[in-house]
Structures are given as C-alpha cells and as structure tokens.
Amino acid sequence: MKDVKSQASKNAAPGKQGGLNAEIQSRIGHQLRAMYDDVVRQGVPDRFAELIRKLDTPGDSPQVNTGGSSDQDNGRE
C-alpha cells in the first residue's frame, strides 16, 4: 500500500486550489477505472459475439453462390 500522506504533501501546492493533491487524484483515477471496469467485466454480450460470427467470412454469406467449388455445407440441413 502506498504512503498516500507523504505523496500528498510532496505533490500538493499548498494554498492553491489549482494544485491537485495526490490523494484526490488517486481517488478520481480509482473511481474512473471502477466505473469503466464494471462494464469491461461484463464481457462480450451475445449480440456482439453473434454479429461477428455471422459476418466473419464474407464468402460464406447466404447471398453468395459459391458455385460448388468447395464441399463445405453441401447436403447439410
């Protein structure tokens, strides 16, 4: 754990509001990351996983006639 007090006294500009002390800055940084990481931890929602799966290979799009040059998916379904 960091020694916040000594950091604060080192970085603070006493008597000046514009001088940001380390304690406040670390608090802001912590809250910002907490907000952000809350979302990151939710992972990849299904809608995006499916989206990328569906669009992954343009050649596999149902509209495209592959001309039977490959045997993939032939006769399935």
């Binding site: 603070a12 006493p14 940001l20 002390n21 304690e23 800055q25 952000y36 931890r41 929602p45 995006f48």
Partner: protein, 181 residues
C-alpha cells in the same frame, strides 16, 4: 488485411472495453451498445484498411469515437437520463453510499467538455498512452495532455474542493485543500 480468425478474435476481445468507452462517453447503456454495434459493422466493412500489426484497439476506438461525435452532433443532449440508464447497465449495483458517490462521479464526468472527457477516459481508464490517445482523437500529444490535466482539475473541483467537508475525516486532505496559512 483480410479478416482472419485471429483478427476476429482480437476484435471480439476488444468489445468489453469498447462498450466501457461507449458508456463512459454517452452515459447511456442502450445507446452505447448501438454505438458498439455500429463500430463493429463499420470495422468489418473496412477491415481492408486496417494495417496488420498496428494497434487494433486504437483503430476500433477511433471508429467508435468518430461515430459518437457525428451522432452526438445530430442529437445533442436528446437523452438526459444518463445516470439512470447507466446504472441499469451494471450487473452489480453498488451499495447505497457507494452508489451515491458513483452517481456524483458520473454526473461530474458528464459536466466536462467532451474533448476533456474523452481524453481523460482514454488515458485514465482505457489505459492508452498519450500518443495513442492523440491518434484516436486526431490531435497533438500536448493537446491530450492538457485536456487530461484540465479534466482532472475540473473533476477535483466539482467533486472534492467545493465539498471538502464531505470528503471525509482525513486530516491530511483537509489540511491540503483548506491550507491558507
């Protein structure tokens, strides 16, 4: 470059942080996911313009940021319900006290000018270097640095300096903030 399996995996791996960035920017979970979806579609449609070996997250963040900008210009502040919607996107609701603090932080973040907010998020939360953030925002590194500094100052002023009494019993902090001797 063509869309290889590994590139697709890398894009997928970027989705969580893209969402976090989008929510941080827009303050609105539904809109953020629409932004992410549009970003992915655009990225996949323009995958040929991605330089192999370059920074994929930065490329994706750039797309999302530009989409957000053009979208933002169109609707301005159409949705003002930022806090409520954002809170709904969280799986775990913070405890009461923490939740209040969180909402205050969110509200303060929303008060920042957009330039400053995005710079602060990119550097302070997404973990991009100043150089990457400058590339994403299309400006000079020095500009990003000053935006981040101004954002931090303003957040500190909004959250802590005016409300020093609310900050807590920490004598050091109070002494530093209130120091007028």
């Amino acid at each position: 470059m063509p869309l290889t399996d590994s590139l697709r995996d890398d894009i997928l791996a970027s989705v969580p942080s893209l969402r976090a960035f989008a929510i941080s920017l827009s303050g609105n979970g539904d809109r953020a996911d629409d932004l992410v979806q549009e970003t992915l579609l655009r990225a996949l449609a323009n995958i040929d313009s991605f330089q192999p070996g370059s920074n994929l997250p930065a490329w994706l963040f750039t797309i999302l940021r530009n989409l957000f900008r053009s979208d933002y210009r169109k609707r301005r502040r159409e949705v003002e319900d930022a806090d409520g919607n954002y809170a709904k996107t969280l799986k775990t609701q913070p405890a009461q006290g923490a939740h209040l603090e969180f909402e205050e932080f969110r509200a303060a973040l929303d008060k920042l000018p957009q330039d400053q907010r995005e710079a602060l998020i990119l550097v302070g939360a997404s973990g991009f270097s100043y150089e990457d953030a400058a590339n994403i925002c299309g400006c000079a590194v020095g500009t990003i640095k000053s935006r981040v500094n101004r954002a931090r100052s303003k957040l500190a002023a909004l959250l802590y300096v005016d409300g020093a009494e609310d900050f807590g019993p920490d004598e050091t902090v109070r002494a530093v903030i209130g120091s007028n001797r």
